[in-house]
């Protein structure tokens, strides 16, 4: 038995990391994922690593999308990187606490405080992690091949609705992202209008929750 199993006495929840630069739409994506996953009967909880406040956690708690007690905020001590990679212990403790409080929780979404392209999640923290970049950050981001872009299980390119306004060629950006990732998943989303969320939810059900 792993330490995790002894805590909850049940199968541990899958831990799903959401990384990416500040402002790329991580919280917006969480706000889309919660109702979509809930509609499919997934028992959920969320951890946020806000950088300077507990604003993301409060935004989710007040959203009405999820029981506010199921949202935990973990302070990152000005080190958003460290808390998901070198020293994720406080995040692990927060996840364990959520599992203890909500036995049967299946999936814990962990939103990183946001960082640069070099951030990755510790293999001991998450079972699966995605990296969210956005169109308005520039279509050269995939080409820069940061570890977040390359190593994440799924790369999400968000704010596709803004492409015409920022002069980005979406098709090329997507093709370049696919090329640098050697065929591993790249998803295009528009969290403002809820586009592309279903594909991600589908992927979570099959590859993270092993439901199908």
């Amino acid at each position: 038995m792993t330490v995790q199993e002894t805590i909850s006495g049940t199968v541990p929840a899958a831990r799903f990391g959401i990384g990416g630069p500040v402002g790329s739409g991580k919280t917006a994506l969480v706000e889309r994922l919660i109702p979509a996953l809930t509609a499919r009967g997934v028992d959920l909880a969320v951890i946020t690593n806000d950088l300077v406040t507990i604003e993301d956690a409060e935004r989710l708690r007040r959203s009405g999308l999820i029981d506010p007690d199921r949202v935990s905020a973990v302070e990152a001590g000005a080190c958003p990187h460290t808390i998901i990679r070198e020293d994720p212990t406080l995040n692990i403790e927060a996840a364990d606490a959520l599992e203890r409080r909500f036995p049967g929780v299946e999936l814990i979404l962990l939103e990183s405080g946001g960082d640069n392209l070099a951030s990755t999640f510790s293999l001991d923290l998450t079972d699966f992690w995605i990296f969210v970049i956005d169109v308005s950050g520039g279509d050269d981001i995939p080409r820069k091949r940061g570890p977040g872009v390359l190593k994440s299980d799924v790369l999400v390119i968000n704010k596709t609705d803004l492409a015409p306004h920022v002069g980005v060629d979406l098709a090329r950006m997507e093709a370049e992202a696919r090329a640098v990732r050697g065929g591993r998943p790249v998803l295009m989303t528009d969290c403002r209008h809820g586009e592309g969320i279903d594909a991600l939810v589908e992927l979570i059900e099959t590859q993270v929750l092993f439901r199908k």
Partner: protein
């Protein structure tokens, strides 16, 4: 003084890279800085660190650590509840519990037997930092002296590294403060502390207690 095995263990566990969540706690440095009580520069930080070492760590945390170090698991739980009762501010209690639970959690995952046993009690026991440090030290085979050295040093590095991240000192002055505070720690460790646990650090206690009122906050304490 310490054998090579002990020194290696201390280097590993006293390293700010040791993943027990310590970097997310400023133990009042953030609050003091925001409230304007920690001016920039080496002198102010040095005064603060030495004050914390003498008037909180040595007189309280160290006493509780020593007691837990000598106790069986039930005795440790008693010390844990006593720590809860002795820690005045709710924020400080919460911080100490989170830091202690994180330390117990990582040691349990690394195979520490006592940590795993105590972890199972954490629904009832608060999991404060000083008893957690005693548990961790016993799991990694430290003697009492080494356990105290590790706990004192961890406080110094935690405070200084928070100050560096908050920009109250530069990285070089930070090292100077650490060296100076290390000397104070050596001095404190050369004699036994009092038996009765007490702390008197009102300014930092208030700074920590004011945390919920602040809009900006990067640290857990």
């Amino acid at each position: 003084m310490h054998d090579m095995r002990t020194i290696l263990t201390l280097l590993q566990h006293g390293d700010s890279n040791f993943p027990a969540g310590g970097f997310a706690f400023s133990w009042g440095v953030e609050g003091l800085e925001i409230d304007g009580h920690l001016p920039r520069g080496r002198a102010a930080l040095q005064g603060f660190v030495v004050d914390q070492l003498a008037h909180r760590w040595d007189s309280m945390d160290r006493v509780l650590l020593r007691r837990a170090f000598a106790a069986d698991i039930d005795g440790i739980e008693e010390v844990d509840h006593e720590t809860e009762a002795l820690t005045l501010s709710a924020e400080m209690r919460q911080g100490s519990r989170r830091a202690g639970r994180a330390l117990i959690g990582v040691h349990a995952r690394l195979g520490g037997e006592m940590a795993a046993l105590y972890r199972a009690r954490l629904d009832a026991a608060p999991g404060h930092l000083p008893p957690a440090q005693a548990i961790a030290a016993r799991d990694i085979g430290l003697d009492l002296g080494a356990a105290e050295l590790l706990a004192g040093w961890t406080l110094i590095t935690g405070l200084v590294s928070a100050a560096v991240r908050l920009g109250t000192v530069g990285h070089l002055d930070g090292q100077a403060v650490m060296a100076e505070a290390g000397g104070h720690l050596e001095h404190l460790l050369a004699r036994d502390p009092s038996d009765d646990a007490h702390a008197f650090t009102p300014i930092s206690d208030i700074a920590i207690a004011r945390a919920p009122l602040r809009a900006q906050r990067m640290f857990a304490t």
